[in-house]
């Protein structure tokens, strides 16, 4: 598999949100607006790339029996680092995402990539894999957030284009499931056409 494909497969063929259906908890919880979804995606991207690299480097030395706890510790370390750095230099974004950043630790995408890819592949490939999957996650979350924001609040990326409220349900939990479901349908339709 070429280096370029490592990145693109995360966007379409192995899109974590629409195809693998991984990391549903942050997906549903943070996508109340496009900006929130995008920031969550970028934070996950950052952790994913770093943890993939660290795990591909250390995997040969970690005994099989303790690999999961080791990966969790490594991932948690990067998440906490990210939290410190964000709190110090981008306090505004940290404020919006604060609650969800610790959730990245238990995001199954990060652990999933560590198990499925990083511990069997080289550093560069693992970094690219993290980048691809992370970008896929970011794009999906942004799209989902955008759809929910447009329908629910009548705005896009914070810019209001309809006075008053939208369909409030879309900002709340039921709308998250509805929007996600329909987006998966559309995504399947588009990708299956391409395959034919």
């Amino acid at each position: 598999m070429g280096k370029f494909q490592l990145i693109t497969k995360g966007l379409i063929k192995e899109n974590p949100t629409f195809v693998l259906l991984l990391g549903m908890c942050p997906t549903l919880a943070t996508t109340t607006s496009a900006i929130n979804g995008m920031s969550m995606g970028l934070a996950t991207l950052f952790v994913l790339v770093l943890s993939n690299m660290a795990i591909s480097l250390t995997a040969p030395y970690i005994p099989d029996k303790v690999r999961i706890p080791s990966y969790i510790v490594i991932i948690a370390t990067f998440v906490t680092l990210l939290q410190f750095v964000m709190q110090a230099y981008v306090p505004d974004i940290y404020e919006t995402l604060g609650l969800f950043i610790p959730l990245i630790v238990v995001n199954c995408i990060v652990l999933g990539r560590a198990e499925a890819f990083a511990n069997k592949n080289g550093v560069l490939d693992s970094a690219l894999d993290g980048l691809g999957i992370g970008l896929g996650f970011t794009c999906s979350l942004t799209v989902l957030g955008l759809v929910r924001e447009i329908l629910g609040s009548g705005s896009a990326f914070g810019f209001k284009f309809i006075e008053g409220d939208g369909i409030l349900a879309f900002v709340l939990a039921p709308g998250a499931f509805l929007a996600l479901g329909y987006l998966i349908v559309i995504f399947k339709k588009l990708t299956s056409k391409k395959a034919e």
Partner: protein
């Protein structure tokens, strides 16, 4: 096996300690700058010197506040932090009073209300109504509960919490000034006054 886990944990904690030490300064500075900007925002422009944070006991809870002085060294206002419990958790509000005990402005420092609904409490459309609010004349509870506060559409719980927070702040101001309580019931807007005030003071003390 054990050695390996131990080594990983040691390296990770070392790394974290290092970054913590490095970022502690900027984090504190950012928090302080934010706090000072918020104080300036809720007090009259004549406030030039802001005193160090002080604490006051009220109704079993501890509240923090800052006094502000003008150029001549006279008190121009007081900014009080209150933490009422909204729909999505505690809402931290800074309430600024001028020297006559009238609300100058309010600002939400942190909230986790539902976006599109309760989160609108940060928007001017809601918070502007409290500018120049005299707690002695207008009742700090939502209209649904017989007060004078215009609630946010479909977010009565958030609006109640906000009004309740302001009512608590008014009484805290009385506690600071040493005058009798202005409002009979600080939590008049809440459906269960006892619980709400107990909760908010709990959050306050656990901070």
């Amino acid at each position: 096996m054990t050695v390996c886990l131990l080594a990983i944990c040691l390296v990770c904690s070392g790394l974290l300690a290092g970054v913590y030490a490095l970022t502690k300064g900027p984090i504190d500075a950012a928090a302080k700058a934010k706090n000072e900007a918020a104080i300036k925002e809720v007090l009259p422009e004549t406030a030039v010197t802001i005193e160090e944070e002080r604490t006051v006991e009220y109704n079993g809870g501890t509240y923090t506040y800052n006094l502000a002085y003008d150029e001549k060294g006279e008190v121009v206002g007081c900014a009080i932090n209150v933490i009422p419990v909204g729909f999505g958790g505690p809402i931290i509000i800074k309430v600024g009073f001028d020297k006559n005990g009238i609300i100058w402005n309010t600002k939400v420092l942190s909230q986790a209300e539902t976006p599109g609904l309760g989160a609108k409490c940060v928007e001017p459309a809601f918070s502007e109504q409290f500018k120049g609010w005299n707690p002695a004349e207008k009742k700090l509870s939502v209209k649904k509960d017989g007060g004078d506060v215009d609630a946010i559409t479909a977010s009565t719980i958030t609006s109640r919490a906000y009004a309740e927070g302001l009512a608590v702040a008014t009484n805290v101001l009385c506690a600071i000034a040493g005058t009798p309580m202005l409002l009979d019931s600080a939590t008049g807007a809440s459906p269960s006054p006892e619980d709400a005030s107990a909760e908010s003071s709990e959050v306050e003390t656990s901070k």
